[in-house]
Symmetry: C2
Subunit: 282 residues, 2 copies
């Protein structure tokens, strides 16, 4: 397929990592960044993630595809503005929540130019310096409410994600937000809460540092993730997040009760049940 | 130092991985396994983790060093028996809890021959087939209540752990059990509970499988750990585990409340606080 001029709004972890792939896989003829954070803009140029940084209106006018890679609260505000500004460009977002965003532009006359996606990849780091080569490969990308997008826009988005090594899953926005709460959002809350627990209880930081094993590090790794990204996600997906968080607190209370009562058999049962996650994750 | 004839009681993940290192680092002249599980015994021989499997009494009689690498409840029962049987051998345990074990043999006339240790390494897998090469390197090993061990026994244990690449930390058993609850035991409970949460809430297992990102996998990884190892640890370290578990539930409730109330600032604050874990872990 012919290479396109592509604009990435937000040159952080996701936008920056996408930029690397768009170039490496020869999908883009030109990469334009839009970045309000001056330090990020400089880093995106220095790291050669994008060819140039332009003001939004210029960037949109000079692009065939616009990728929105900013926090989900900012995306909800910006997406309708983008759809007002475009002529026939394709607009893609890559955020972790989908319902509110899709609802927001449901009646927009340019709705068809927009494709809602969530590539299932990330790390606990943020900003352009966190961008990595080879990201997204062999991971899933969710395309939400595909029927609401124009055929040509949808077709190009599928081509692009497959070209960077992702496999496509189509899903309604509500189902996406529910599943995302289970398999992603709750992991982050757990990890943040675990970090706060250890920071609260373990005043001897040197002991944490010395004793922390690989197990602790893997469980608490996500606690390094940025509030700028995660606060809007938890609030936008509030209903599902609270539902799964209540269940999680209940499961921890079950552990507390069986340990308190030294109920060895039941403790063994709930651990054995947890072990069945082996069926599902590698 | 002269190589020694070494007996490993329990040829699982830890015993097996130690066996590989004892051989590779030329610490052992001969490796004898003691293993009640017949399948594990066969695997330990087939994988050449040990030179031979012997009955306990023969193994003890033919060894200069005895390493106890079994579940912590079994260790509490077996350690006094071992101290009754030895003449002048060194006995080491490698369990994740220390107070009950050390208390149990406090008055034993052979107490000096025993060195209580906890090498801070492990994986979520178990059994001889889980043993890995190069384990323990660059990790910490805790030696507890070192003053209660004979000088020669302590000296050899330090030599052995340093030779396999570990750095030594000395600590009283009570302090060890407290810190271990914070930096290891709670991570496992969190992970088990998270797995149960997702298994309970997410009936579409295919969705978990497809959508689970690296973040979810790292948070839930420890949930594959075996109940045989972890039930006795949680029960032996009950007091500290419950203390830290209550704190953790409280921290999760804090997340629940601020999300429920859409308190954006406080949500940002508690995530930013969690981010400070960066100071402590890499």
């Amino acid at each position: 397929m012919e290479r396109k001029s592509i604009c990435i709004i937000g040159t952080g972890l996701i936008g920056g990592s996408l930029a690397i792939q768009l170039h490496e896989k020869k999908i883009s003829s030109r990469l334009i960044g839009v970045e309000t954070n001056q330090l990020h803009a400089e880093a995106a140029i220095r790291l050669e993630l994008v060819d140039e940084i332009l003001e939004m209106d210029d960037a949109i006018a000079q692009s065939e595809v616009i990728i929105l890679a900013i926090a989900v609260d900012a995306a909800v505000k910006l997406l309708p503005v983008l759809l007002n500004k475009i002529t026939n460009q394709i607009v893609i977002d890559v955020g972790s929540t989908k319902s509110e965003l899709i609802e927001k532009v449901k009646q927009h006359e340019k709705r068809g130019r927009y494709v809602a996606t969530h590539p299932m990849w990330g790390t606990e780091y943020s900003g352009p310096t966190a961008a990595v080569r080879g990201a997204f490969e062999n991971k899933a990308v969710i395309i939400c409410n595909a029927a609401e997008s124009d055929t040509d826009a949808l077709q190009w988005v599928k081509y692009f994600y497959q070209k960077i090594g992702m496999h496509l899953i189509e899903m309604e926005a509500k189902a996406h937000d529910l599943h995302a709460a289970y398999v992603s959002h709750i992991s982050h809350i757990t990890s943040f809460a675990l970090a706060n627990t250890v920071l609260e209880k373990e005043k001897e930081e040197n002991a944490i540092f010395e004793l922390a094993s690989a197990g602790f590090e893997s469980t608490v790794r996500l606690a390094k993730s940025s509030p700028e990204m995660w606060v809007p996600i938890f609030l936008q997906n509030k209903e599902h997040v609270l539902d799964v968080l209540n269940e999680h607190i209940g499961q921890l209370e079950k552990f507390r009760d069986v340990i308190q009562n030294e109920n060895r058999n039941e403790l063994k049962n709930i651990i054995s049940n947890a072990n069945t996650i082996r069926r599902i994750i590698k």
